[in-house]
Each structure stands twice: as C-alpha cells, then as structure tokens.
C-alpha cells in the first residue's frame, strides 16, 4: 500500500499511470470508438477502403488517413492497443514463469543443478536478443508454414489459449499463428534476466537472520519458502518485471516492422509502420503513416517506463537498466 501511495504522489509515475489508464480505456472501448464493419470476420483485421496503392492524407472519413492498400490508420491505432496489451502481458507472464522456475530451482537445489542451469542461462545470453528472436521467428514460421508442426503445435496452442482464449481443440488461425511465432521467439530468449535476479535474491535472502531465525524456531522448508523467501526475494522482481511489458511491446513492434510479427493488415502498430518503408522519398507528404502509429508505440512504452522507473527506485535499485534496448 505504501508503494501504491508513493506511485500516486510522484508526478513522474502519476503521469505514467494516467497515460496507461487512457490506453486501457482505448483498448476496452475499441468496439465503440472504432466499430468494426458489420461483415468483418476478424475485428483485428483493419478494414480497407478500396485497394489503391497511394496512401490518403487524414480526411473526414479517415481521421488519421490510410496506408498503402487503404488500411484505415485510426482503426489500426485503436485496435492496435488491444494487440499491444495482449502481446506485452502474455510475453511477460511466460518469461516471468520460466525465469522464476529456473531461478528458484537453481538457488534452492544449488550444487550441480545450479551449475548446469546457470551455464544454460549464459548460453542463451550469449545471443544478441533481437537477432535470436528474428532467427527463431523465421524457424518457427518455416515449421508452422508446413501445416504439420507436430509437438511444436502444442506450444502454439497453449499460447493461443492464453492470448486469444481459443480452445485447443480448434486449429489455430493462420493470422494468429504468425503473431504467436513472434511471441514464442521473444519468450524463448527473454527469460534470462529474471532467472538470474531471482536466483541471486533467493541466495541472498537465505543467508539473512530472519530466515535463520525462522529455521531455529522450527519452521518447515515450505513455510520458509512461502512466508519468508518468496515475498522478499521474488515478488519485488515480479512487480518490476511487469513493467517490462513496454519493452516487450517494443521488441514485438520491431519484429512486426521487419515483416516477421503480425500479418499485413493486422491491427498492430509495428506492422502499420512497415507500410512507410515503401514511401520513404515522399515521407514529408505521407508523414501520417509513421507519426500516428509511432506516437501510439512511444506513448504506450513511455507510460510503462515512467511507472517502472519510479517503481524500480522504490523496490529494488539493483534491477535498473536490465531492460534490453531495441
């Protein structure tokens, strides 16, 4: 509670929280402020107004203009908020779970298990993050593109269940599948910082007097783990990790911008900016393709960073600067 109060009284974090609230409202009210056309099969596919290549400047019908292929930018920006929350939250949940499991296993058992797990973590860290994510996305898209993906389909189905609430019995929609490959790749190469920090914290906390005190009065292993170690070593990390949603959205947007994340025409900010690449010499006239979706990404990520920055100061100064830059 003290943390919440400090977040609300600090002007930096308050600005972040208000900005974040605006995005939540935008995501929740998307069907009202940008109603999908009546015959739309998937509301996340941006409606098109014709097929002409030349982008249209903002006008009455399209307040933010249209991209090449006449995708409505306003619609994409609004519905893109939902995509951003989904992608960011799901990636954060999975990376945190993986990092938490590996970090606490490593710290709790120690010895050879610790040694092996930490070497594996180091190997994953030996890859430049974005390059590794791009690589795995390409591999996964090759495999899923075959239709018959075997055991790997299971991963996609788990992710589809969490992300879209889709029943595992149904086949995964190819449009969603492309989104999931990018997310899987980021998750696969994104958990290492949590594993290391959580391991370090548990090891440190284990040595503190109160853990020893709990042991001397006869508390069991589980009680010590749940009552003493987890609240002190893990929850602060998880709270701070939740602020990484912004940076995951940034990475995913980068994949989409390269054409590897969301499919063409999907309501995703990075994907929309991808359209600008064919109009670089005339960007001065077609500024709206970059500016509106770009502003959406910047403000979204900024809101998480504003809150996260203050939260980091309050909870754990050691976690500063662990976010990867893209």
């Amino acid at each position: 509670m003290k943390v919440v109060k400090r977040l609300l009284t600090n002007p930096t974090s308050l600005a972040g929280i208000l900005l974040l609230l605006a995005f939540v409202i935008m995501a929740v009210t998307a069907s009202w402020i940008a109603p999908p056309p009546e015959n739309a099969r998937d509301p996340y596919m941006i409606p098109r107004d014709g097929f002409s290549t030349e982008p249209q400047a903002p006008n009455e019908k399209h307040p933010f203009g249209t991209t090449e292929g006449q995708y409505d930018i306003y619609y994409g920006v609004i519905w893109g908020t939902r995509t951003a929350f989904r992608v960011g939250v799901v990636i954060t949940i999975f990376t945190a779970i993986i990092g938490l499991s590996i970090g606490s296993l490593s710290a709790y058992y120690g010895g050879e298990i610790d040694e092996v797990l930490m070497r594996i973590t180091e190997v994953f860290q030996a890859f430049p993050f974005l390059l590794a994510a791009i690589t795995l996305t390409a591999v996964l898209q090759t495999i899923y593109g075959r239709g018959e993906a075997g055991p790997l389909m299971f991963l996609a189905k788990v992710l589809a269940l969490v992300t879209f609430g889709q029943s595992p019995a149904e086949p995964v929609d190819p449009v969603q599948l492309q989104l999931l490959t990018g997310m899987l790749a980021i998750i696969f190469f994104g958990w290492m910082t949590y594993a290391r920090v959580i391991r370090g914290n548990i090891l440190a906390v284990k040595e503190f007097e109160y853990a020893l005190a709990a042991r001397t009065i006869g508390a069991g292993d589980l009680r010590i783990l749940f009552r003493h170690l987890l609240p002190n070593a893990v929850f602060p990390v998880l709270v701070i990790a939740s602020m990484n949603i912004g940076s995951y959205v940034l990475t995913f947007a980068a994949l989409s911008f390269l054409g590897l994340g969301a499919q063409r025409g999907y309501a995703d900010w990075g994907q929309m900016i991808n359209f600008a690449r064919s109009w670089i010499p005339s960007l001065a006239d077609h500024w709206y393709i970059v500016v509106y979706p770009g502003l959406a990404i910047v403000l979204f990520v900024l809101s998480w960073n504003l809150v996260g920055d203050v939260l980091r100061d309050i909870l754990d100064p050691r976690m500063r600067g662990t976010r990867g830059a893209v």
């Binding site: 070497r119 190997v123 993050f129 390059l131 591999v139 495999i143 912004g246 500016v291």
Partner: protein
C-alpha cells in the same frame, strides 16, 4: 591476473559449444530437405535428386551424428571434396544472397563495421558527457531535464526514430540521403580507378584522395549513425550518472574541493577518471546494442550491411543464412564480452582478486 584470464578463457569453449548446440537444435527442427542448403547451393527440383542429396550428406541421420558433421564437414565420396563444417568456416549456402553464407557475410561486414565504428565515438562521447552533466548538477534543472530525456529516449523505437529523421532530413530537407553511397560515387568506387584498401568507403576515399566521395559517404552515414548512437545515449547517461554520483561522495573529492581546486578540475580530472571504470563493464551491453541496432537501422536506411541481410533472409525464411549470421554475431558477442572482462580486470584490481 593470469589466473583470472585463464578462468575466463575456460568458460569460453563451454559457451561456444552451447551456442552451436542451440543453433543446431533450431536447424534440426527443419526437414532434411530444408537443411540441404547447408551443403549444396542449387538444390535440384527433380524428385530423385533430392533423396540423393539427403542420402549423400546424411541429412536424416540421428541428430548427434548430424551435429558432428555440421561441425567438421562431410566428405563427398565421389569427388573426395569436403562440404560444410562450421569449424572449417563453411556455414552453408544462402538462397537470398545466392552464394555461400560466409561470402555474403564477408561482403556485407565492411558496411556494418563502418557504420558501427562511426557510431561508437558519438555514442560513448555524448552519453558520458550527458551523464557527467547530470551528476554535476545533481537534482537541479539540467538533471531533471536529462532524466526525462533518457526515459523518453528509452521509449522511442529505433525504427520510429529512423523514419522520423528520414522524414525531416531527407524527404523534407533533402540533406542526408539513405543507402550507402550516391549512384555517381558508387560508379567510381566500383571502377578500377578506385582502390578499395579496407572496404570502408570513408577511409578508402581518403586513401584515394577522393574528398568528394568521402563527403558523399559521410552524408549517407549521418542519419544511420545518429539512429544507432541515440539508442545507447539514454543508457550511457544513466550508468555514467550513477557512477559519477558514487564517486563524488568519496573523501578524496572533498579533499580536492577543500584545497580549493576549481569544480571543473574536480569533476573532469579527479572524479571522472575513477567514475569511468564501471562504465567499461557496459562495453558488452553496448556491443549488444550495436548488434541488435544494426538490424533495424540498416533496414530503415536501406543500408547494405549484415543486419539488413539478416532481416531480408528472415523474411524469405532462408533459415540457413539467418542462423549463419546469428551464429557469427554471437561469437562476436562472446569474444567482445571476454575482452571487456579482461580489460576490466586490468583496470580495476579489486575484480581479479575476488
């Protein structure tokens, strides 16, 4: 010191073997047919021929066996020629680059190196300068402004920043064009009259005394270099600031001030030289920033380097090329990190005594 270096060197092979295993794990998810470009460039379309190739290079052997051949190469029984084998420096064939992956990397690496080399100086210089400025005016207006600048800077994706500067300085003002050279200078650079000593256009132009080409190359570098450097400014600023603040609290700084030295001397000489030590540790992170950054930056500016090749290959699902470039970059990163660790051991005696 020697023991420290040896200990670091012993971890190196474990890491590199781990990296190759992870890369090969990804390769083994592909079908034998998709893996064939590890060994052959033009995969024949005829039905029987593909099976022949799979048979010849053991592409459906057990995975550990394949891993071994992927490392050391496989001998063609008919011709006695050894194909593949990453230890021999053969990463397979690139469908997108239409030659071997190693050749493509060799062709594109100079462009990326030129970009990165030009970016390092403004990146570190301006980052450290801003950090010192922030710490010297701790909690004053400049510090607050720079804090906001660094948080906002963190939040702007590279590709948005790159497109915005292109919009202003190329599309609107026409000052700095994308790509690597203008058509006219490209023709000269590729002609016989121009000797390419280093493959780095700016340096070659100077060596050939072609100052017009030097200027042209520089003009093309301004925007991508700014984009690549800006990425790390926020980070450098923060690290320098906190390191400076720690140092400024030390007794010897109070002593320096007490004996009446000018604040400029105290900060520039006494504090900065010690505050710079921890900044070396983020050398590895800067390298990661550069390796990640070139992919996006080169793609935005249509700059013909390794990063834009990776993005193009990934988009056409040319997995062998993508994995080749990633393997190469990871080795660069592992080597760079080792260098940083050793360097740090030299600079700060406390580290090697631990």
């Amino acid at each position: 010191m020697l023991a420290y270096i040896i200990r670091r060197l012993l971890i190196l092979p474990i890491l590199i073997v781990g990296v190759t295993m992870l890369i090969f794990a990804m390769l083994s998810l592909l079908t034998p047919y998709e893996r064939a470009s590890l060994y052959v460039q033009d995969i024949p379309k005829r039905q029987g021929a593909i099976e022949g190739i799979i048979e010849k290079y053991g592409l459906d052997d057990p995975i550990p066996v394949q891993y071994w051949y992927w490392m050391v190469g496989r001998e063609d029984e008919a011709t006695g020629e050894i194909k593949g084998g990453i230890l021999r420096g053969d990463l397979g064939f690139s469908k997108v680059g239409k030659s071997s992956v190693v050749e493509v990397i060799g062709r594109r690496l100079p462009a990326t190196a030129e970009l990165a080399l030009w970016a390092i100086v403004p990146m570190v210089g301006i980052g450290v300068w801003l950090g010192v400025l922030s710490a010297a005016h701790h909690n004053k207006l400049i510090d607050q402004v720079l804090r906001v600048f660094s948080i906002v800077g963190w939040s702007i994706p590279t590709f948005v920043f790159g497109l915005l500067v292109l919009m202003i300085f190329y599309a609107r003002l026409g000052w700095f064009p994308p790509e690597r050279l203008s058509d006219w200078s490209m023709r000269i650079v590729q002609s016989d009259a121009f000797t390419r000593y280093t493959q780095l256009n700016t340096i070659d132009a100077l060596l050939n005394l072609r100052f017009d080409i030097f200027l042209d190359a520089l003009k093309h570098l301004v925007l991508p270099v700014t984009t690549l450097a800006y990425l790390n400014w926020a980070y450098m600023l923060r690290v320098t600031r906190s390191s400076m603040l720690d140092t400024l609290r030390q007794d010897y700084i109070t002593t320096a001030r007490a004996k009446g030295l000018a604040e400029r001397v105290v900060i520039g000489k006494h504090a900065l030289s010690n505050a710079l030590i921890p900044i070396v540790t983020i050398g590895g992170l800067i390298l990661i920033g550069l390796l990640n950054g070139v992919v996006i930056t080169e793609t935005v500016f249509n700059y013909p380097g390794m990063g834009s090749f990776l993005a193009k290959a990934a988009l056409s699902l040319d997995v062998v090329s993508v994995l080749g470039v990633t393997l190469f970059s990871s080795i660069v990163l592992v080597g760079g990190n080792l260098l940083v660790d050793v360097l740090y051991g030299f600079i700060d005696p406390r580290i090697r005594l631990q």
